[in-house]
């Protein structure tokens, strides 16, 4: 009985109808939080004493990097669940997470480069944090490429899951890179174990953006996973009804 939800969650059909109701709420929440957070960070947060106004890029750079890393855990854990419990749905979550993670990693690298020019005087340095983030991007791209490299999707699922699990080695390296090899990238601004090195007037808009990015991530992950579900189940009766925007009575 206690595990019923877990088995239900593995059913693509149940997942599809259940998550449909969450989409509008996630869309509204991420839209509100991201626009309010951007406006707050761009216009109302005080200027940084050392970096001037270029520091305002932090309000997208840090949340994007946060989610790029958190998304890797989601991808690797769904891959592991697929390998262990042979759950079809979790492989689809893994595939969706790979694409979204790649885009978020790109955003954090791009905004970091644009921020680096006025602050460090260069777009790119082979600093430990930046290099390990670039490896993260390659891992995401590797999983996407691998997922399309096999004629049989079940084989591709397993190969991707193994690559994703092996790649988790990189995650603690990224977290610790600013402390182990301190060169140019500044150390973490927000710390869980000690007080953060950021003033509340700058921290609250940043927190708003981080929560907004989490909502956006959940929204995008559901959108992409639901599509992959329909694509894989499209021969079934329920998926054809879903594509025709009809909800069967049993799923209402």
């Amino acid at each position: 009985m206690a595990w019923q939800w877990f088995h239900r969650l593995g059913s693509p059909r149940w997942f599809y109808w259940k998550t449909g109701a969450w989409l509008p709420w996630l869309a509204i929440a991420s839209g509100l939080l991201l626009s309010a957070g951007s406006l707050w960070g761009l216009g109302f947060a005080p200027q940084d004493a050392k970096q001037g106004d270029s520091y305002r890029i932090i309000y997208i750079h840090v949340p994007a990097a946060f989610l790029a890393l958190a998304g890797y855990y989601i991808m690797a854990i769904s891959g592991a669940i697929g390998l262990i419990w042979k759950m079809k749905l979790s492989y689809l979550v893994m595939r969706a997470a790979a694409l979204i993670g790649a885009v978020l990693t790109f955003i954090s690298l791009f905004t970091g480069a644009v921020w680096g020019k006025p602050t460090w005087g260069t777009y790119w340095v082979w600093d430990a944090r930046i290099t390990s983030m670039l490896i993260l991007l390659f891992l995401y791209i590797g999983v996407i490429a691998l997922s399309r490299a096999f004629a049989r999707e079940q084989v591709a699922d397993k190969a991707c899951a193994i690559l994703a699990l092996v790649g988790t080695v990189n995650i603690p390296i990224i977290y610790k890179s600013v402390d182990w090899w301190f060169t140019l990238h500044q150390p973490a601004t927000i710390k869980l174990t000690e007080s953060s090195s950021i003033d509340p007037s700058m921290f609250y808009p940043l927190l708003t953006m981080i929560i907004g990015f989490y909502c956006f991530y959940a929204w995008a992950l559901l959108l992409h996973t639901r599509n992959l579900v329909l694509q894989r189940e499209w021969r079934t009766n329920w998926a054809q009804q879903a594509l025709a925007d009809r909800t069967p009575a049993a799923d209402r």
């Binding site: 951007s38 761009l42 216009g43 106004d53 890029i57 885009v103 644009v114 594509l243």
Partner: protein, 73 residues
């Protein structure tokens, strides 16, 4: 909490850092929008493919029916 800039022009200029800030925000907006638009387009393609498939099946079924009527066993 108050607005940190004298006016809109000042806000856009960001004290000389305007181009960096706005390019970073613009590219982020485009990338995030792409993540939401892609599934919508994908779904449309799936719907079109399904309709095509159903039309083909329909045609095959009616052709078989005509055949059965034309040459009774």
């Amino acid at each position: 909490m108050e607005f940190q800039f004298a006016g809109l022009a000042d806000f856009l200029a960001m004290n000389g850092h305007g181009p960096y800030v706005w390019i970073a925000y613009g590219v982020t907006l485009l990338a995030l929008a792409g993540l939401v638009i892609q599934p919508v387009l994908r779904r449309r393609r799936l719907q079109a493919a399904l309709k095509r498939q159903q039309r083909i099946q329909q045609r095959r079924r009616s052709a078989e029916k005509r055949k059965r009527v034309a040459e009774p066993a």
